[in-house]
Each structure stands twice: as C-alpha cells, then as structure tokens.
C-alpha cells in the first residue's frame, strides 16, 4: 500500500471515529479461558450442550466438551479427574440406594427433571399405582390383564445399573422397590434415547424416561397413582417422580467451570432455554 493510500485510510478512519460518541464507561475485554469437560447423565446432556453453546458466545475462549454415559459416570469421572463436571440425576455427595456418596464432591443444582412411566402405544392401561409398578418391575406381575389391560405379556425395559433415571425411578415410582432381571420379556438400555426407541418399537413394553423425551405417537405416559405426569403437577407437588439434576464438582467450582455453572443457574438460562428444552427451573420448586 502506498503512503498516500495509507494516509487516506487513516483520515477516513479518524473521521469515522470523530463522528461517533465516546462513552465514559470502561471497556472490558473478556479474558475467561479454559477447558471444561462434562460427563454423566444422558438426560442432562441436551441441557449441557445448549448451555455450552450460549456460554461460549459470551466466552469464546472457553472450550466445553460433553459426553453422556449415565449419571454414575458423572461423579466417577470427576473423582478420576477425567471431567471437571459430573452431570448426575441425584446428589452424589450423599448415599443413595445402590451408590455410596462421592466424598469431597459438591452438588450444584442445575435443573428439575420429571420422570414418567411410559408404555408402548399397544398398551391400553393409562394408570398404574406404586404397588402395581413394584410388581411389574420385580417380575411378579407379568401380564397386562393383571393391572386391567389386555391379555398380553409385559415387556420390561429398564435402564442399566448406574443410570440416574433408574435410581430416581426406583426410589420414587417403585417406593424403593427392586428392578429384577428376567430371562425373558426384559431388556436393559444405556440411554434415554435408547429407552424411547425400545419402548416405541416393542409391543406391550413398559419403561420409564425423563418427561422431556416423551413425544410422538408410539409411546405414551401413564398416570402414577392417578396423577398425570406433567410439569404443572411436579410444581404443584401432586406428582412425585422427579429429581433435581446436579453438576458434581471436586470441591467448590472455580474459574471457567464456576462461571459455566453460574450461567446454567442464571435466571436468563433457567427461564429461557432450559424451559424450552422442557426442563423445570430450580426456582420453580421453592
């Protein structure tokens, strides 16, 4: 570039700058950097990815990588130091049936997750009590006619051991009852998506899933003790099968991890994208 052209550009740039108003406010560049890895609950994975997308627009130099393999792998990964955040459908800093507390970990509430019993569209039953569900998942009730349905074998679809959905379902839908492995009409799946697919494609199947996954004509939610699984009934206290979703961290979070968790907990995210992904804001349960 010749000097005359350079001079012209400088002059033009100066003129443009002079024509603008300079605010007295300080200009602050975003210096937040870091890598955040999040592993665990598949139920919380869509929420994590959406939050990551929005958070990175505010903090482009923060890298966020997420993965899902079931809730227990969240605090496990944090304990092993291979993830900063363990997404878990229960408070893994305390003992729950089947799992000991993860010492030294802090549970950061990020969402309310409602769960529902689902059945294949072929099933005519639309309500099940805690006792009936206990019987079905313990393998004592094996035919739909025993709970008011057609004379068809019940196919039980359940999540693998370590699933947060399974922990919460056992505790709240089955009243602490067991899920007993059977030789036939029984299948274990590894994720919420697989659960939806399995129940949708297996006639006479029953399973359980986060409310957010329920869509389409191939599966339907059944009432629990006469109460419909809905966000409204969770908030008003009538429907009991729900839990908080947590981000587990090794001690109190710091740096970019802390900032990310605070973003997920912010009113903007909780009342905005989180609701549109069909989770319930944590503030709704106060």
């Amino acid at each position: 570039m010749n000097w005359l052209k350079k001079l012209s550009l400088v002059a033009v740039a100066s003129a443009v700058l002079l024509s603008t108003t300079i605010s007295g406010s300080a200009w602050a560049k975003d210096d937040l950097k870091g890598k955040i890895t999040v592993n665990g609950s598949t139920a919380l994975l869509p929420l994590t990815l959406q939050a990551a997308k929005e958070f990175q627009k505010l903090h482009p130099k923060v890298k966020i990588a997420a993965s899902g393999k079931g809730s227990v792998t969240g605090p496990q990964a944090v304990k092993k130091g291979i993830a900063q955040i363990g997404a878990c459908d229960w408070d893994a800093s305390t003992d729950v049936p089947g799992f000991k507390a993860f010492d030294g970990q802090v549970a950061n509430k990020v969402a309310v997750i409602p769960f529902a019993t689902i059945v294949n569209k072929s099933v005519s039953v639309d309500n099940l009590t805690t006792e009936q569900l206990k019987g079905i998942f313990a393998g004592k009730i094996t035919n739909w006619k025993e709970v008011g349905g057609d004379d068809e074998d019940i196919v039980v679809i359940t999540r693998s051991f370590g699933s947060g959905t399974r922990v919460n379902y056992q505790a709240k839908a089955l009243g602490g009852g067991d899920i007993v492995k059977k030789e036939k009409n029984y299948k274990e799946v590894g994720s919420s998506g697989d659960m939806k697919t399995a129940v949708a494609t297996t006639p006479n199947a029953i399973g359980y899933i986060d409310l957010t996954y329920i869509s389409g004509k191939d599966i339907k939610a059944v009432k629990h003790n006469g109460v419909e699984a809905s966000v409204e009934n969770v908030i008003n206290g009538k429907y009991k099968i729900w839990s908080y979703g947590y981000y587990m961290t090794k001690g109190q979070p710091t740096g970019a991890t802390k900032a990310f968790i605070e973003y997920v907990q912010s009113k903007k995210f909780q009342e905005g994208s989180l609701k549109k992904l069909k989770f319930i804001p944590i503030s709704a349960m106060k």
Partner: protein
C-alpha cells in the same frame, strides 16, 4: 454538578428572552424567602424555549440567585400534569396519576407521594404565578431532564440492565430487562420513551421475520407462537409440541426452519400458511444447532456439536471408565436441498470453537472461530467457500465477538485495544466501520434504514446518522 444547575446553565445560555419587571406576589402574601436574597421586586420573568417530549415549548422563568425557576403552570401544561389548589397548597399530579407533588409558595419543604423533600430555593410567587425548581418537580413526577441537554421528558427513561435488542417494523427498539423481578420486554421510542411490550418471558431470544413485523418463539411445551411486533398480539402456530430450537425464517417469510427433537437430531420447517411441520433432515445425527437457510431455500448450513465418547465395562465400574474427548467439538455441515437424495456434507474438521454461523447470499458460510489452544488470543471470522472446498480467514486483525448476515450484509461486532466496533464486512474481508465506542458492547441489532441499537454495559444505545442516544439509564 447537579442536573438542575446544568439545566439552568444550559437554558440560560440557549434562551433568547423577552423580559418584564414583575411585582412579587409572594412579598404581597407576606412570605419571607430566605434563599431568595435577590429582591423579589427585581425578578425578571423570562420566556424560555425548551423541548418537552420532543416538542418545542415556551415556558416563563425567573432566576433566583442564579437558580432558574419555571412557571409551575407552564411546566405542568408541558408535562401533561394537572394542578389542584387547596388553601395555600398546590398539588401537582402527573398525567398517569402515579405521582403527586404538594408544595406552597415560600416554603422549601414539599412532599413527593407523601414523602418530605426539600427544594434548594423555595417556590416564588411572581405576578400571580408560582415558579419552582424544574428538575425537582420533573423528577418527582416521574419525568426526566436529559443529561447535558435542555430536553425534558414527561416520563423518565427506564433504568437497569437490558439485553436482546431488536427493531420492529415501525423502527421501535424492543429490549428485555434483565434485572426485573419477572421477564419484561419494553418498546422504546427514539427519545427513550417506553412502554411495556410484553411480560412473556418466552419472547426473549425470539426470532424476527425478514420484514420485522413478526417474531417467532416457543414455550416450555414446545409450542410455536408468533407475535405481531407492532401491537403485541400473540397467536399459536400449529399444534406440534416437539422440542424446537434455533428458529430461523425463510427469506420470503413464509416458513420457519428449526432444529427439532429432544436430542436436537432433526431439521424441519413449519409453513405459516398451513401450520404443517415438514421434516427436512432426520439423519440420526444428534445435537444440531444454528440452522441457516439460503434465500432460495436450496441450501442449509448448520452446526453439529460432536460429544465425547464415554465407555465402561458391562458392570459400569469406576476403574473401567474412560472418556475420549479427542473428537468433541463443533463442526459445520451443509445440505443441498435442491439436489435429489443429497446427503449432509461435513465442511470443517478442526476442533476450534465455532460460533455465529451465517449463510451468505453467494452460498459461502461465515463463522467465528475461537481456539482456546491457539497461538492468538483473538477470535477470527472464517469463510467457507460456496463449494465447501476452501476455508479462509475473512477477518483476523480484530477480535471478532459476534457476526450476523443482516439485509444481505455481513456485519460483525469486534474488539481491539480501542474498544468495540461494528463493521460491515465485504466478501473480500474489507471492513467498513459503522460504529465505535470505548464501552463494552455485548449485543447489537440493525434496522433496515441503517439505524443501530446496541447494548453497552447493559444500557440501550440508539445510533442514528452517527449520533448516539442513550435510550435507558
């Protein structure tokens, strides 16, 4: 310096006055105004011209010890306020009936909505008219004297932290207030006058139609709604309740494309005419985002957020848990809708953070690349050629914060050592500065006529013809 003094000084310097000697009614009434050392018999009534709510108005004033007092009657008329007298007391009420100021001649003490306050100079009665400190009365009535100007507003500007600005078809700015107790969206005029547009929190982040007349948004049930940006009337569009994110309008405003599904695994659109949802892509690839559609609707580009891969043994033991994040990151894909049986094509492979995807009119795609591990601190604007074979840096000499294709132009918000800048970027990468400020700009929107609205440190700034106006405080 207090605003009242600034106002007085500005008005004194601006106004051409017609003056008249006035007898002092206050003196006749026997009031002793301690602050008014100037002999009341020497007070000159001066007609001053000021702007109230954008209109030029002439007000009578007097100056007491260099403090300019305004005729209460004139001021009230200009502000649309009403005055009632009860004995020696006058009560001024704003046009909305929200605030009341009670005062009397010769008394520094007055009441605002029942709370005691003090004037610097007591109201003066001159030639049968009461003269008062304007700023105190305007503030008390919920109005505002614009800083550094002689302009008065009957309603003060909103104050607080604001975000998500957009323009409606009439050129009004719509913003949401972040620090309100509940979600609130306000419509702001070019002078900062405001009215509540909506208290529907689902509207935050709504997507505007190309003609700005309509915004689309979803609710917590996955239902899709349209709001008329002029009158705020909302209507539901269709009955589909699947999860929908990343809404984007077709150029003709007849369809809204979106990412669909609880795992964000599909791309679909809804027709505004029929309210029918049509699947465009269902390839079982999860975590899609930011779908963009070409003006002729023959090409889509979108992000796929690739997750890490966690593995355990069958028992799910802690010892066996491994996670491979080596491929985790955001990648750009394209889909040629105009070609029969076309499959999505992955356009990028790098693991940098990719943000703000735009599909340009020539078929090329731009995105912001930020590399936390990279040698440079800044984020650059990258361009993928229309045929998808070449990726190059379009803007790399400033830290690119956000980018968007608006009215066929690619516009970026960037930062450098001098502050924040809004640039229009040509296909060659040449930048034309549209606005610059030392303040921290977080969001922006462009009207079709080139007017800009920005969020600077939480405040809403309107930029028209190079002149910036703070619409909120």
């Amino acid at each position: 310096m207090k605003t009242s003094k600034v106002l007085g000084m500005i008005l004194a310097s601006v106004v051409v006055a017609t003056t008249a000697m006035a007898p002092s009614a206050a003196a006749e009434a026997g009031h002793k105004t301690a602050a008014a050392k100037t002999s009341v018999s020497q007070l000159k009534v001066v007609n001053q011209s000021v702007v109230i709510d954008g209109a030029q108005v002439s007000l009578k004033t007097v100056s007491v010890n260099r403090v300019v007092l305004y005729s209460l009657r004139d001021l009230a008329r200009g502000l649309g306020a009403s005055i009632k007298q009860s004995g020696a007391e006058l009560t001024v009420t704003d046009s909305q009936g929200m605030h009341a100021v009670t005062l009397k001649a010769g008394s520094k003490g007055y009441q605002v909505d029942g709370v005691n306050a003090q004037f610097t100079v007591a109201p003066q009665s001159v030639q049968g008219s009461l003269y008062v400190e304007p700023t105190a009365v305007i503030d008390a009535l919920g109005g505002e004297v614009l800083p550094g100007t002689s302009e008065l507003r009957s309603t003060g500007r909103l104050s607080g932290q604001f975000s998500s600005p957009w323009f409606n078809a009439a050129g009004n700015v719509i913003v949401s207030q972040d620090d309100a107790e509940t979600a609130q969206l306000f419509k702001l005029g070019s002078n900062g006058q405001s009215e509540l547009f909506s208290d529907n929190g689902n509207l935050i982040g709504a997507t505007l139609s190309p003609d700005l007349s309509t915004a689309a948004f979803t609710d917590e049930n996955g239902a899709l709604f349209l709001i008329n940006t002029g009158n705020g009337i909302v209507k539901k569009l269709g009955s589909d309740t699947t999860v929908k994110t990343d809404l984007t309008w077709s150029a003709d405003g007849k369809k809204i494309y979106f990412i669909q599904g609880d795992k964000q695994e599909k791309i679909a659109y809804i027709s505004l005419d029929t309210a029918q949802v049509t699947e465009v892509l269902a390839d079982k690839v999860e975590n899609k985002a930011e779908v963009q559609v070409s003006p002729d609707e023959k090409k889509l580009v979108y992000f796929v957020n690739v997750t890490g891969k966690a593995e355990t043994d069958k028992e799910g033991t802690e010892e066996s848990l491994t996670i491979d994040y080596s491929k985790a990151g955001t990648q750009v894909y394209s889909l040629e809708l105009g070609k029969k049986d076309a499959k999505p094509v992955q356009l990028t492979k790098e693991l940098d953070n990719k943000l703000y995807l735009s599909l340009l009119s020539d078929g090329s795609a731009a995105y912001i690349s930020a590399d936390p591990d990279g040698a440079t601190d800044g984020s650059v604007l990258k361009l993928i050629s229309a045929d998808g074979t070449k990726i190059s840096n379009l803007v790399a000499d400033v830290d690119v914060v956000s980018s968007r294709a608006v009215n066929g132009k690619l516009v970026i918000l960037a930062e450098d050592a001098n502050g924040s800048h809004l640039f229009e970027v040509a296909p060659t990468g040449a930048k034309t500065e549209m606005y610059s400020t030392k303040a921290s700009v977080s969001e922006w929107a462009l009207a079709k006529n080139g007017t800009i609205v920005l969020i600077e440190d939480g405040k809403v700034i309107l930029v028209q013809s190079g002149k910036s106006t703070e619409l909120t405080k």
